[in-house]
Amino acid sequence: MNRHYSLIISGLLFGLMSAPAAASDPDIQQLRQELELLKQSYEERINALEARLAQMTQERKVSATAVSPPVARDPGARALRQGQNAFNPGIAVILNGKYNDYGRDPNDYALPGFQLGGEAGLSSEGLTAEESEITINGNIDDRFYGSLTLGLHQDEDETEVELEEAYIEATGLAGGTGLKAGRFFSEIGYLNRQHTHTWDFADEPLAYRAFLGKQYTDDGVQARWLAPTDTFVEIGGELLRGTGFPASGADNEGKGAYSIFARTGGDVGTSHSWRVGLSGLWADARERGSSGDEHGHGGGGVEPSVFDGDSDLWIADFVWKWAPDGNPTERNFKFQTEYFDRREDGTVAVDDGAEISGYSGEQRGWYAQGVYQFRPRWRIGARYDRLSSTNRGNDPEVLAEAGLLSTHDPSRASAMLDYSRSEFSRLRFQYNQDKSRPGEADDQLSMQYIMSFGAHGGHQF
């Protein structure tokens, strides 16, 4: 309908333009006025018709709840008159709250043999809104995709906004290549790439706490290549700024870390699927402080320390999922395990640099977990964590003060039960018997809710 009017108007315009050049100025003036009037009256009528149309559509929709008339979903036919809003990106909000109860003093928390960095440490005791997250994403054009994730959390008495991820992806590359740039969670390991709200336990595995400061995120570029094979084979690498733990200080002129990763996976029958991965991270650390001195977690008996040197990490990961006939709705099982091996070489300083020692660290850690959905909405899970270290230095006293010399191997056993009303809400209970520190085990109890609304998140493997 609309189109007819514009056709008429443009036809008139065209006729006007091609009018004999001999027409005098007053003639043209008069014609312009007439045209203006014509345009106005048509615009009014078009508006009136549109209003009627909108009203009718509304009425039809209301009656549609009973028996809806078939409506063709031709994209052209349902162009929405939303102006700028028609291009709204997907917005997803994650709300996450917890109640934590600890048997031992959480301010005293430490992982003997490891320097706690990044976000590593126990979550606040008692009731806490923990962390809320907002993700905004969408296609930028036919060649680029963009995503922004902001984390909001309380630190002391201030609400902190943290730029968790802000990246672009090139989507139009041929040959199975993918490029990403910006700030993102590194693809190393299995869990690192996934946002914490998709994790199956309320807290991170001890290995993630010890080796990656909970989760390794950094600025940089990433290239991925998918092999043209029926078996999933993917290799890739990242060049990173080197600010996130275990890197620090954006060394090497702001290119302080790089990583490689390779993984393969597939299905066995229709009920089983698996993935195996191997990744490496080489990081330069310039004045890497332990989180104890900055955030107040960690501490007790351990001096704040500063590390300078190289940190080289290998991670092997394996995931296996089972769902009867490939249909996870009723029952499913997921097993995952990751093994970490790290070498650090450099110096460790305590007491504001007054005491310094050469340091060479050899650290290992692993976890294994299984989560079983035994009926719709309900899952149970178990997890076991273990870490060990062999650290050496020319001044053992300095290492001991920094908490890097230990005969105690931290370990933890966890049990979890969660309930998901829908795929957008989850309530979780978790118990940890935490032997991170020497001495008696710490009984830790967590209750958690994780809810999301807005754009539908993806079902990641």
Partner: protein, 303 residues
């Protein structure tokens, strides 16, 4: 490190690319079956789900990423049926040929009249689909509509065989129309039959055959039926009896069995899609089988 690179290279050496012309990735088995009818032998067709899987709930498995990486044409239902995994697959598969807007990407729901378009989109109402009910293939007339588009896409992507694709479409349409006439005559006595369904997966079948849906076991789509709602349904059925409870082969049988126990109604497990039972081996078999099962329950005496 070096050894690892060699290992990867070796892997390619032993996995040679197959010689098929077109690689077609479909999200659901009904589109794989349709592609088989229309594309012929020169193609490699893969379905991401089987007839026993709930197409809402799939995860973006590594095997699916690998398959989409090499696809020339992706055929999915769309209308957000695959909202939980298809966008993720597209982003992980690094294949620009099968991105929306390309001839290699086809959403069937764009090409059929949609039903049950909600007037209010709110997750409090359950797993609602803003673009309408996505289970479009349960009406065979929709299959015919989508066939037209699939055939056109095949010709666009593989112009050398365009004539062959057109012939195949004409042949398929001929057989389909004949089958349709036969199904509709077989189904004449099903008109007005009162039924109960488990999930809102059957609206297109219901509209096609003129069945009457008395109740749905899922109070809200996608959420498991609650005991309270089931009792309400049972009470409702006492006032207004139905003939049979319809359930898709991939759905949990507990709720429908409970109601069947309570009300004495029969439960019919319809194949829902190709591969949903052992007789529904292709699209023709799917509707033959659907009507056979429905007809078993057409007469109150059990027929």
């Amino acid at each position: 490190m070096q050894r690892f690179v060699y290992l990867i290279l070796l892997l390619f050496a032993v996995t040679p690319a197959a010689g098929a012309n077109l690689r077609i990735f479909t999200c659901e088995p009904e589109w794989a079956a349709l592609a088989t009818e229309l594309a012929g032998e020169n193609t490699n067709i893969f379905s991401a789900t089987t007839g026993l899987q709930n197409p809402h709930k799939v995860t973006a498995r590594p095997s699916l990423i690998a398959k989409m990486r090499r696809a020339d044409l992706v055929i999915c239902t769309g209308a957000d049926l695959e909202a939980g995994w298809l966008p993720l697959l597209r982003r992980k598969a690094n294949n620009p040929k099968v991105l929306p807007g390309q001839p290699g990407y086809l959403e069937a729901a764009d090409h059929v009249p949609m039903r049950e378009i909600p007037s209010r989109v709110d997750r409090a109402e359950g797993d609602v689909h803003p673009h309408g009910n996505p289970h479009i293939h349960t009406d065979p007339r929709n299959i015919r509509r989508v066939a037209q588009v699939v055939s056109e896409r095949l010709a666009t992507l593989d112009p050398a065989n365009a004539t062959q694709y057109r012939q195949r479409l004409a042949d398929f349409n001929g057989r389909w129309d004949a089958a349709l006439r036969q199904w509709e005559s077989v189904a004449a006595n099903l008109r007005g039959m009162p039924i109960v369904t488990q999930h809102k997966s059957w609206i297109y079948l219901i509209e096609w055959l003129g069945l009457e849906r008395i109740a749905v076991l899922e109070a809200k789509p996608g959420l498991p039926p609650s005991a309270a709602h089931l009792s309400q349904v049972a009470a409702k059925l006492e006032r207004r009896p139905a003939r049979v409870i319809l359930r898709a082969a991939y759905q949990d049988r507990r709720a429908s069995d409970w109601l069947a126990d309570r009300t004495g109604l029969a439960v019919a497990a319809l194949p829902y899609t190709v591969g949903g039972n052992e007789r529904a081996t292709d699209l023709f078999g799917l509707f033959d089988e659907t009507l056979r099962v429905l007809n078993q329950h057409a007469n109150p005496e059990g027929g």
